[in-house]
């Protein structure tokens, strides 16, 4: 007796070798039927003996390809049609799209072996890929994911490639971007407008040996590359980019080269080798043998392995550690078309390594920092992770758009229980980023075939994202407080709906009371929050002026501690101000003239970094806090007892007294390594003490940590440890960054909960 069953599978099931997998499975269990892609799912019909069907369905979930991610399997029985053969049908084009495009995947071991094998027809071919690896998101223009809808559409496959592409048993069966030297894209080197195609990789490598800077077209955009061991060229690159201190990432030939530079534990190694191939922050060895100016004031270095064939082939000749920094001027979005690169990188690079496979969607490298306890801090979510979807803990009653924040912007779309978060787009102060932001929102709407009817935005009236939301037609707006969004993001991606204690620590967010929040304890669920505690308020002299100048913040804290004696204390710490600065700052700090009040956690780190002379000039976002963390050494230096006061039913963590003890230690001559360690320990203990008090009061045992300050591994690990010891359940970000890159997800989660509550 034959039976037939129709299956609809959604999730990441396209472009990951799913259909050949199904085909092989059907053959194995002697089933007839078909499989095809639709924009929203993979559709399967199977027909055969009941045992065969059962085995098929078991294998389907148990042995799906590693890159696939099955979100939902809908199955229904159908009358048998007597179909004996199994076939792969052409994609079906209409319908709503939930099927989600896979992210770009780093070069797989099979393809890597092929391009290094002289016998293989793809020997040294830089655009080799298969269903297990290669470009996806960055080349897709529309769905369903077929070659015709990618930037590979213009390359007609040769017979050999076509055969592989059509053979269900081949690794390249329906590998949409497949290509070979006979039919695919080509690479060339361009120096001063002259194009050289022959031996271009060896010539590029030679230039790198000779201390030159090359712009290399990668998967999601251009990199600027140079030899990471040559100090002069690293300095030159800094000078050309106008980037004084911000660390550069390094791509190394292989794991051995990585280990020569950094100490790597198993977590770091597995992140490095993972299909997403992110930049992994790892601790530098004592003598890493690389240019000292790669990561000034930082004990860590961002490493990655070659993730495209082009990179791997370049490393066959080049130095084995190359700076690979985003190909842009200053903080602009990265260049991703050849013309744009010629225009914007012409003065930065000595040569271009171009190719003619267009990038449709730019996507930066992702950055992660694995921690020794197995958890990971995600600093930037982009290539390799986007557009993987995130499951929401509750359904969206309408299609949603979360527009994000201002810096490190991402946005997100959501429908039903699915959230699709964009790649890191950068700072919306810049017009190029704003343009790209608008265009990316459109592109994501096209891909998902969703037109959101509700947009969630930050409360801050001055964010460009807020204005964007307010400019949308026929869309209902939901305003979400910044720190509520942080905590909601953490709850949502951990699948939690219940109320928690949220420790939202960051630089600044608009508080509904007109002050600038940033060291906040919220009692929050997705729909709602109450501010139940915060850092001690201080003046933020000149608003963003203080964020740009850690010294201003140090003076503000000194004033909070010492009053009029602040200036003489500042002098003892070696903090210098011009007479004009002194006059203006004192007026601002004493009267609040043009200066809001803040409870910012980020600015506390700035003030401490400046007071200790660890960082008195901020040249990139987060620099003072990062350098303060890096200076700390040892675990058992004790801590400063931290008082917790009360104000209007809210706990106030006495961060001003904490600052005083930092200064007193400094005046006593204690070294910064110890003071910084004590400072971190004190804050961690302060958080736990506050949570304990609040648990007694509010009966909440779940603690969510969010906000950019939690990118500080020392603070994060210690706080988590102490909270766990005290019996709290602690959740942290696992899929999105704790910084403002996660805000869009939080906005979506809050909006979904608000709509849900209205029902």
């Amino acid at each position: 007796m034959r039976i037939r069953r129709n299956l609809r599978i959604s999730g990441i099931v396209q472009g990951v070798g799913f259909r050949p997998f199904i085909y092989r499975l059907a053959l194995k269990h002697c089933l007839g039927g078909y499989v095809r892609n639709t924009p929203s799912c993979v559709e399967i019909a199977v027909e055969g003996l009941p045992e065969g069907l059962e085995a098929f369905c078991r294998d389907l979930t148990d042995s799906a390809p590693i890159l696939a991610c099955l979100q939902e399997v809908v199955s229904e029985d159908a009358p048998p049609l007597g179909e004996e053969n199994f076939s792969i049908l052409a994609s079906h084009g209409s319908g709503e799209a939930a099927a989600v495009i896979p992210a770009d995947i780093g070069l797989c071991p099979d393809c890597a072996a092929e391009i290094l094998s002289q016998q293989n027809r793809r020997y040294f071919y830089p655009f080799t890929n298969c269903t297990n690896c290669g470009p996806r998101f960055t080349i897709i223009k529309n769905l369903p994911y077929d070659r015709a809808h990618t930037t590979m559409a213009g390359f007609a496959m040769c017979d050999a490639c076509r055969q592989e592409y059509e053979n269900p048993l081949d690794r390249r069966f329906h590998a949409e971007p497949t290509a070979c030297p006979a039919c695919g894209p080509v690479v060339w080197l361009e120096i001063g407008g002259r194009r050289r195609s022959r031996e271009c990789l060896t010539r590029a490598a030679e230039m790198l040996w000779n201390g030159k800077i090359i712009a290399i077209k990668s998967l999601g955009g251009f990199h600027l590359a140079c030899d990471a061991r040559q100090e002069p060229v690293v300095q030159l690159l800094r000078q050309r980019k106008g980037r004084r201190d911000k660390p550069f990432a390094v791509m190394v030939r292989d794991l051995a080269a990585a280990e020569a530079i950094c100490e790597l534990n198993r977590f770091e190694k597995s992140w490095l080798r993972s299909p997403a191939s992110p930049i992994v922050l790892a601790r530098q060895r004592a003598n890493p043998g690389i240019a000292a100016s790669l990561a000034p004031g930082n004990r860590y270095l961002g490493l990655m392995l070659p993730y495209t064939p082009l990179h791997l082939l370049l490393f066959q000749h080049s130095p084995d550690a190359l700076v690979m920094t985003s190909g842009n001027r200053s903080e602009e979005p990265l260049a991703f078309t050849n013309d744009e690169a010629r225009r914007t990188l012409g003065e930065l690079a000595d040569a271009f390594l171009f190719h003619n496979r267009d990038i449709h969607v730019p996507c930066d490298d992702s950055v992660v920092r694995p921690l020794h306890d197995g958890s990971t801090i995600i600093l930037r979510r982009a290539r390799g992770y986007v557009p993987d979807t995130i499951q929401l803990p509750l359904p969206c009653r309408e299609d949603l758009l979360g527009v994000g924040a201002q810096d490190k912007t991402t946005f997100g779309l959501a429908w039903r229980r699915t959230a699709l978060l964009s790649q890191h787009l950068g700072n919306l102060d810049l017009v190029e980023t704003i343009d790209y932001y608008r265009c990316a929102i459109d592109h994501f709407q096209t891909l998902s075939r969703r037109r959101p009817t509700v947009a969630a935005h930050d409360l801050h009236p001055g964010y460009v994202s807020t204005s964007y939301a307010k400019g949308l037609d026929n869309v209902r707006l939901i305003a979400v407080q910044h720190h509520h969004a942080h905590i909601a993001a953490c709850l949502a991606e951990n699948g939690r709906l219940e109320r928690c204690l949220g420790l939202a620590f960051d630089g600044a967010g608009y508080g509904p009371d007109g002050t600038i929040w940033g060291g906040e304890i919220l009692a929050a669920d997705l729909a709602d929050y109450t501010r139940v505690g915060h850092f001690a308020p201080v003046v933020l002299p000149g608003g963003d002026a203080a964020a740009q100048n850690p010294n201003f913040m140090a003076l503000s804290y000194l004033f909070a501690v010492y009053g009029e004696a602040a200036l003489s204390q500042a002098a003892r710490l070696g903090l210098r101000f011009s007479p004009l600065q002194e006059r203006l700052l004192l007026r601002q700090i004493t009267t609040g003239w043009h200066s809001p009040v803040t409870t910012s956690a980020g600015r506390l780190f700035d003030a401490v970094a400046a007071a200790l002379d660890i960082c008195r000039e901020r040249t990139y976002e987060g620099q003072p806090a990062l350098e303060l963390e890096m200076v700390a050494e040892g675990q058992d230096w004790g801590y400063y007892p931290l008082k917790i006061g009360h104000h209007h039913n809210q706990l106030v963590i006495d961060t001003i007294a904490l600052f005083r003890q930092v200064v007193e230690d400094r005046q006593r001559g204690v070294v910064p390594a110890v003071i910084s360690a004590r400072f971190h320990e004190s804050l961690a203990r302060g958080c736990v003490a506050a949570c304990l008090t609040l648990r007694g009061r509010l009966r909440l045992n779940l603690v969510a940590l969010s906000g950019g300050v939690w990118q500080n591994a020392r603070l994060f690990l210690r706080t988590k440890e102490l909270l766990t010891k005290a019996g709290f359940e602690v959740i942290f970000h696992r899929q999105t960054p704790a910084n403002d890159g996660g805000i869009a997800l939080g906005q979506i989660a809050v909006a979904a909960a608000v709509l849900d509550r209205e029902q």
């Binding site: 914007t344 190029e432 009236p461 600044a508 608009y510 963003d544 201003f552 004009l580 809001p596 976002e621």
Partner: protein, 332 residues
């Protein structure tokens, strides 16, 4: 109930909203010129008419006083219409108890500034308000001039045009602000308040192809350029490194968290000029007493309409927004 806020008078977004939502609701959109002067046809000639009320604290500040401001401001507004300023009327509201000596100093200063600007103050009015019903002295000046070059307007900027500023930016706003707070030290921070008759008349006489003139007062060039970009439906790009800002002013802005481009000027003109005439215009301006530090700072682009940005020294383009009353920190 909605009430007037200080930001409604600051020359930024809030003020434009007020004009649209209150004044234009009564007068109609065509009743109010979006430029600083209105052009009227009278007795066979084209006349430019403008009026401005001056409220400044302190009334005497480094580089000037309310009298000089009241004359220069109105003269400059007439000049933006391509008119030769002819006559001014001045109305005073004085607070009971105001020292005569101070009034004399103000009127002397007005006379001197008028002479410099080649206008006559021909009529006036004086009212005295009871103590505390007014603050020291308010002056309203109305100016009339003959249009030499019709068609100058914030709506006349064209893609390709160059943008000149006649000198350093932010001096007036910072000087007055620090003077008011008693925060001026020995730094050389002074208001730039001055009538720009020489600059504008020489440009017009030389038949330079000027398309728009604007004096970037409240809201600074950020407000001015945004208005022009909106009125002309063009984009504007300026290059940060070319915009002259005095180091002392920049230093004060750095502490205050202000963008010097959003700070008021009272003796500066933004000149939008055809590219072919830009260098000649710059030469003429630099030859004038108040134009020695003039710079070509940017150009008009075709799109996107209404957007102004500023290229930083490393090439990134920062959005230059219409200033708002409240500066809220955004750095997270």
């Amino acid at each position: 109930m909605k009430r007037i806020l200080l930001s409604h008078g600051a020359g930024g977004q809030e003020m434009f909203a007020l004009i649209e939502q209150v004044f234009q609701r009564s007068y109609g959109p065509s009743g109010v010129s979006r430029d600083d002067s209105a052009i009227i046809e009278l007795a066979g000639g084209n006349l430019a008419l403008t009026t401005d009320a001056y409220v400044v604290s302190p009334i005497f500040f480094p580089g000037g006083d309310i009298g000089r401001l009241a004359v220069a401001g109105t003269v400059n507004d007439l000049l933006t219409a391509g008119a030769r300023p002819a006559v001014l009327a001045a109305a005073f509201i004085l607070e009971e108890g105001f020292p005569l000596e101070s009034l004399q100093a103000i009127t002397d200063s007005m006379h001197q500034t008028a002479a410099e600007a080649e206008v006559n103050i021909v009529t006036g009015d004086t009212k005295v308000a009871p103590r505390r019903a007014a603050d020291a002295v308010f002056i309203t000046t109305t100016g009339l001039g003959a249009v030499l070059r019709p068609g100058l307007s914030g709506a006349a900027a064209k893609p390709g045009d160059k943008i000149i500023v006649t000198g350093s930016l932010g001096d007036h706003g910072i000087a007055v602000m620090l003077a008011r707070e008693n925060l001026l030290g020995s730094d050389n921070i002074r208001s730039d308040v001055a009538p720009l008759t020489e600059i504008v008349l020489r440009l017009l006489e030389a038949e330079v192809e000027v398309h728009a003139l604007r004096d970037p007062t409240r809201g600074g060039i950020a407000a001015t350029l945004n208005e022009i970009a909106r009125q002309s439906q063009v984009a504007i790009e300026i290059e940060e490194s070319r915009v002259p800002v005095r180091p002392e002013v920049a230093a004060a802005c750095e502490v205050l968290g202000f963008d010097p481009f959003a700070v008021a000027n009272e003796g500066k003109m933004v000149v939008i000029v055809a590219a072919s005439d830009a260098n000649r215009a710059l030469g003429i301006v630099r030859d004038c007493r108040y134009g020695r530090e003039a710079q070509l700072i940017g150009e008009v682009l075709p799109a996107p309409a209404g957007r102004v940005h500023c290229r930083t020294p490393y090439g990134a383009a920062r959005l230059l927004e219409m200033p708002t009353g409240e500066l809220l920190p955004r750095i997270c």
